[in-house]
């Protein structure tokens, strides 16, 4: 069992836990005879960059049974005594490996793997795990995401007083010039099967909007521990609807010039606008109000221009619709390489979650604003990255384990 792995910070809690543990052991012992266990078997795949010879320094694999909520943690490498009962498991693994890289130097890197809903039964005991290089030392990260918006004047729907922040999670000044903010084309709620290889979730990130922070290299400085706020409409919303937010202090707004009669945007002269490289929408871009898409911060390769990107990274793809099983075409989208992504997050309400639009190497899970997709309680709530600690230089370090369920919490936007 796993009690030795739990970090106990509070004596009272530890007493409570121990007594609970004692009870469960007692009840387990009563029906020990009926519990059938199976050896832990994994079928791993490794990233192509990992050479064939490497050494596992340390590592653990955690199995969480979804019905009972029990977790079983095993040290790597696995031994014959590692067994688990039948069940449906979410699996989370992490290990340190050392190897000699192409330059001939010995390095130690972290690998992670996640798998969801793996069934362990008398007929299936092997869980497939796809390991990826895990590098949580991002420089700029999403600090807060507020896409649900505040309640509108009638109390029927969300306002677009939406925004997000980009936080400097390092001890040095970072520059956001040229940083792109992209929204996924794919919904995290659909089970469509992508046919086109380039659009597979593990190959590239398929996006439908590309907004870029203007600047020529060192115009948009973010000090350590500081963030910039990017809003839809840089407006003092409190003057429009009570309880909404004031965005006149925003660092940028995404202003969408529209030739449509139906929708026009506002442009605050005191708040600079994002550059708009691509948008599927001819009018305004509205970030997913149900919070069920994925977002990423993208640093394009040096010298990439909008025209070059538009000409070379067209993301039109084919897929099989999960509803009709018919082959369909996905249009109005572009591809983003994972090498370019410096931070990404899957958002989705719990009940709607199927799969992330981002590769598990960027986000192993997802952050949820609500259980149900149309839950009105989501209005007025935002995703906020948890605090991991304080850096040596005294800056707040936000949690960035590429696992949004663990990294974000939901708090009131006010």
């Amino acid at each position: 069992m796993t009690s030795n792995k739990i970090q106990i910070k509070n004596l009272f809690l530890s007493v409570a836990l121990c007594s609970a543990m004692g009870l469960s052991v007692a009840s387990c012992s009563d029906d020990d005879n009926t519990v059938v266990t199976y050896p832990v078997v994994i079928a791993p795949t490794y990233p192509a960059e990992l050479p064939s010879s490497y050494t596992v320094e340390s590592g653990t694999i955690t199995y969480k049974e979804l019905n009972s909520g029990r977790t079983y943690t095993f040290e790597l490498p696995l031994t014959d005594s590692d067994v688990i009962p039948a069940g449906t498991y979410d699996i989370d693994g992490q290990m340190e490996v050392s190897f000699v890289n192409d330059e001939g130097t010995s390095v130690t890197r972290t690998l992670r793997a996640v798998a969801s809903q793996q069934v362990i039964s008398s007929t299936a005991q092997s869980a497939s795990l796809k390991w990826f290089f895990y590098n949580p030392s991002n420089t700029l990260v999403f600090g807060e995401i507020y896409f649900a918006g505040s309640l509108n004047a009638a109390g029927t729907n969300g306002l677009y007083d939406t925004y997000f922040t980009i936080y400097n999670n390092t001890d040095e000044v970072q520059y956001a010039d040229g940083l792109a903010i992209v929204e996924s084309k794919l919904l995290n709620t659909d089970a469509n099967v992508i046919i086109t290889p380039a659009n597979q979730r593990e190959a590239n990130f398929t996006v439908q909007t590309v907004y870029v922070i203007p600047g020529s290299g060192q115009d948009v400085a973010i000090a350590p521990g500081e963030s910039i706020k990017i809003v839809d409409q840089a407006i003092d919303w409190t003057a429009q609807v009570p309880g909404a937010l004031n965005h006149t202090d925003a660092d940028f707004e995404w202003y969408d010039e529209s030739t449509s009669a139906s929708v026009k945007d506002t442009d605050n002269p005191d708040v600079p606008n994002l550059d708009k490289w691509y948008s599927y929408s001819p009018t305004i871009w509205i970030a997913s109000n149900q919070c069920n898409r994925s977002y990423a911060l993208v640093r394009f390769p040096e010298g990439m221009t909008a025209e070059q990107y538009l000409a070379e990274y067209d993301g039109t793809y084919k897929y099989i619709s999960s509803v009709t099983q018919k082959e369909m075409t996905g249009t109005k989208c572009y591809l983003v390489k994972y090498d370019w992504i410096i931070d990404g997050v899957n958002l989705c309400p719990v009940e709607s979650w199927i799969q992330g639009a981002l590769s598990t190497s960027v986000d192993a899970s997802y952050a949820a604003i609500s259980e149900a997709k149309t839950d009105k309680n989501r209005f007025g709530k935002k995703f906020v990255r948890k605090v991991a600690g304080v850096s040596a230089a005294g800056n707040t370090v936000l949690m960035d384990t590429n696992d949004s369920a663990k990294d974000f919490e939901i708090v009131s936007a006010k």
Binding site: Q233, S260, K264, D265, T331
Partner: protein, 787 residues
């Protein structure tokens, strides 16, 4: 017809070959679609077939050309009948004596049609008071009518009838309903003199349609009620004067028919609009540079459309007859004038409080639209040849139609349309089989048919476009300003022509001992139906740069005169009504009717059809993808010559056993409807433009190099090959039951019907998914009284 127990005229359509019994759908316009495949998706771009089916009641055409009701609410467009012809929901079936539905080639006496003719004759004659009460799952219907013989000798008869229908679109929801009230007072007076018999019919009719739906305030957040109400009152007064000589002469008859109708239409909609963002809102009424304001975050939108369509028609016609021993000939001739005009105030609303934020039109009074006048004349000869027991009946006619007083800018102005139409029926001498005659008849017909555009097509609303020139939403309210350049464009397509349809058909009939088999092949190809198609428009405006302006120093908001600017050219695809809709209908209709079999008194009718219908554009389409690439909309528009459309097919057979037992006063029928196959195939498109237009209006060929240009490549439309595979829906069988029982010298009748008493539809697979079909029966009953 009574045995059908109909609620509206729509229910009669199941009697046609290829027709399928449907449950009433009172929540949307019921448009007629003759000889069309089952399972078609209705699309307003292919409504000409419905618009081009003429409904004639007692000699007067129901003219809907002046209807202009409209709503900007996209959820309610299915309830708007403008441009879709006669809404069959509005027609009650009580008081109808007979209906003739001409799907083939109608006589040239009837015009303003492309696709068919529905000729309705109402009852005339004295009789008992008749009452009918019908209830089914969705609705209740009540009718009462009587014929009075005022003169006592049948020379003056008055018929009166009133009908009321109350229908709930969903029986669980009493907040959405459709009501209809119709009534008529019809007088027939005859004078019989030594020289001639004169008949004067004068009919006054009223028809009211009331649609309503609103939300349940208990389910709304603020207990508010948003509602939609659409009412139509139509009054008609039709007169017919007929002169028939008593003595045999060349002149057979002379007729004078007049029709007047006036509609009082009111569409009202109220909605609480809560905006989700601060929205600039152009309400400028003048062209040029305009400063505009912003929409409030919460307001009540009140929208109202007042239509007052008025129509008048006058028709004079006659019939001459010439005889001979092996040839007889009749000549029909006539002249018809009709006009229509809408005297309504049109859309009446506060443009700063619109129903939907996207409002690119402004209120306009319908009465500002000129009246439409139409004059037509026809001549038709009906010649019968007799030779060696063969009879040949040739009907040949020509109809001329033109619009009068139309502005000379219209291509239609002063343009006459000629519709030649022929019908030939060849009756062969009977062959004798077991001493019973076996009759053969062959028939063929061909002809042109013309429907003029309706007022809403000839006189569309003006289009208002606003382009942002200065967008300055300053933190200080006093310094906020927004300037747009407004374009007001006349969206009239002066090149609009009439829709024309060429149809031909051949028919063979065999009859033997009261049994009859009839098979018809038809084909019609209408290539210039009405639809909206794109036109490329170019706009120029300035983009003002206010970055150098300091409102605090100036103490005011910037004005465009102060600011430097860059000129911008913008290309847009705008919709106008064109003749770009193609409908190709092809198929075979068959009917086999047995005589009533003795002993069991049952007649068997087998009817059905194979229909193939193709809807597509007939002109190349302009298209601009709606994306933003590198900060702006595309500066190109593509021209695509592929076909955007579908082919639909259906095969069906209806088998009807109808048994009449007069001694028991019992009549019942069992109908087995087999829809053997319905299918749809999307026409193949490659999505590559043939040409493209740049902002200067220059047209270039679209070459392979364009595919690697970051902007031009966006013009490629991507389609999946599997979208073009024919999708078949296999057989579906339903059994319908109807019964009528009469009591007390047929004074009381009880009737019941069940649609889909049994329903057999096997599961089928599509893309590996099993599709199950199920259906619930629909039933109703009625009580008929004759007192």
């Amino acid at each position: 017809m009574r045995h059908l127990q109909p609620s509206s005229f729509t229910d009669l359509m199941s009697l046609l070959p290829g027709g399928v019994t449907k449950d009433p759908e009172m929540g949307s316009v019921n448009r007629i679609d003759l000889r069309s495949a089952s399972g078609m998706t209705q699309n307003d771009d292919y409504a000409t077939a419905a618009l081009g089916t003429a409904f004639v009641v007692d000699g007067v055409r129901l003219n809907t050309d002046a209807d202009m009701q409209t709503t900007p609410d996209a959820n309610r467009t299915a309830r708007i009948s403008t441009g879709k012809g006669v809404d069959m929901r509005s027609l009650s079936t009580d008081d109808i004596e007979s209906v003739e539905i001409v799907r083939g080639i109608p006589s040239v006496e009837y015009g303003e049609l492309t696709s068919g003719l529905v000729n309705i004759k109402r009852k005339s004659g004295a009789g008992r008071l008749e009452a009918r009460f019908k209830a089914d799952t969705q609705s209740q219907l009540f009718y009462v009518g009587k014929g009075f013989d005022l003169s006592g000798d049948d020379t003056w008869i008055i018929n009166a009838g009133v009908d009321y229908l109350d229908s709930k679109i969903d029986p669980r929801n009493n907040r959405e309903n459709f009501k209809r009230v119709t009534g008529s007072l019809r007088s027939t007076k005859r004078w019989t003199g030594p020289v001639a018999r004169i008949t004067w019919n004068s009919n006054f009719s009223y028809s009211g349609m009331f649609e309503k739906d609103d939300n349940d305030p208990d389910l709304a957040v603020n207990n508010t009620i948003d509602f939609y109400q659409n009412s139509k009152h139509t009054m008609r007064w039709d007169n017919t004067l007929r002169y028939v000589p008593s003595v045999a002469s060349v002149l057979q008859e002379l007729n004078m028919v007049s029709g007047l109708s006036y509609g009082h239409e009111q569409l009202e909609q109220q909605k609480h609009v809560a905006s989700s963002r601060v929205m600039p809102m152009p309400v400028s009424l003048v062209e040029g540079d305009n400063y505009i304001g912003y929409l409030p975050m919460l307001y009540l939108a009140d929208y109202r459309v007042e239509g007052r369509p008025f129509t008048a028609s006058l028709k004079g016609s006659g019939r001459l007859r010439f005889g001979g021993s092996f040839l007889s000939s009749a000549l029909k001739f006539g002249v018809e004038w009709n006009m229509n005009k809408n005297y309504g105030r049109g859309a009446v609303y506060d443009i700063s409080r619109p129903l939907t934020a996207g409002n690119n039109t402004r209120p306009r009074a319908f009465r500002d639209v000129p009246a439409m006048h139409q004059l037509s004349a026809y001549l038709e000869s009906e010649t019968r040849f007799y030779a060696c027991k063969h009879t040949l009946l040739l009907t040949a006619g020509l109809r001329e139609t033109q619009l009068l007083y139309l502005d000379s800018r219209y291509e239609l102005s002063g343009k006459p349309y000629f519709d030649p139409r022929f019908n030939l029926v060849w009756s062969l001498p009977p062959a004798y089989v077991r001493n019973n005659p076996l009759g053969f008849e062959l028939a063929a017909g061909a002809g042109w048919h013309t429907k003029m555009p309706v007022a809403a097509y000839l006189y569309p609303e003006k289009l208002y476009s606003d382009f942002e020139q200065l967008n300055y939403y300053h933190n200080v309210e006093d310094y906020r300003v927004m300037n747009v350049r407004t374009y007001i464009e006349d969206m009239t397509n002066y090149r609009l022509r009439a829709a024309r349809n060429f149809k031909w058909e051949v028919r063979a009939d065999i009859s033997y001992r009261g049994n009859r088999l009839s098979v018809t092949y038809f084909r019609e190809n209408m290539t210039d139906g009405f639809r909206s198609s794109g036109f490329v428009h170019t706009y120029t405006y300035n983009r003002y740069d206010a970055s150098g302006f300091d409102p605090y120093a100036a103490g005011r908001a910037p004005l465009i005169e102060d600011l430097p600017y860059q000129s911008e050219t913008y290309l847009a695809v705008r919709s106008k009504t064109t003749n770009g809709s193609r409908t190709l209908k092809e198929g075979v209709e068959y009917t086999l009717q047995s005589r009533r079999l003795p002993v069991i008194n049952t007649r068997l009718t087998i009817s059905g059809a194979f229909f193939s219908t193709t809807n597509s554009n007939s002109q190349s389409l302009w298209y601009k993808p709606s994306i933003i690439a590198n900060g702006r909309e595309l500066q190109y528009v593509g021209l695509y010559d592929d076909l955007d459309g579908n082919n639909y097919r259906s095969v069906n057979t209806n088998v009807l056993f109808d048994t009449d037992l007069p001694r028991l006063g019992l009549n019942f029928s069992i109908g087995v409807q087999n829809l053997w196959l319905t299918s749809r195939k999307t026409l193949r498109r490659d999505g590559i433009p043939v040409q493209y237009m740049d902002v200067n209006g220059d047209i270039h060929p679209y070459t392979d190099e364009c595919l690697s240009d970051p902007y031009l490549k966006q013009l490629v439309r991507n389609f999946t090959e599997s979208s073009f595979v024919r999708q078949n829906v296999p057989t579906e069988t339903s059994v319908n039951f109807k019964a009528t029982k009469t009591f007390w010298q047929k004074r009381v009748g009880l009737a019941v019907y069940v649609n889909r008493l049994a329903y057999i539809a096997p599961d089928y697979e599509r893309y590996g998914i099993t599709i199950r079909r199920y259906s619930t029966p629909y039933f109703g009953m009625e009580l008929n009284l004759k007192i």
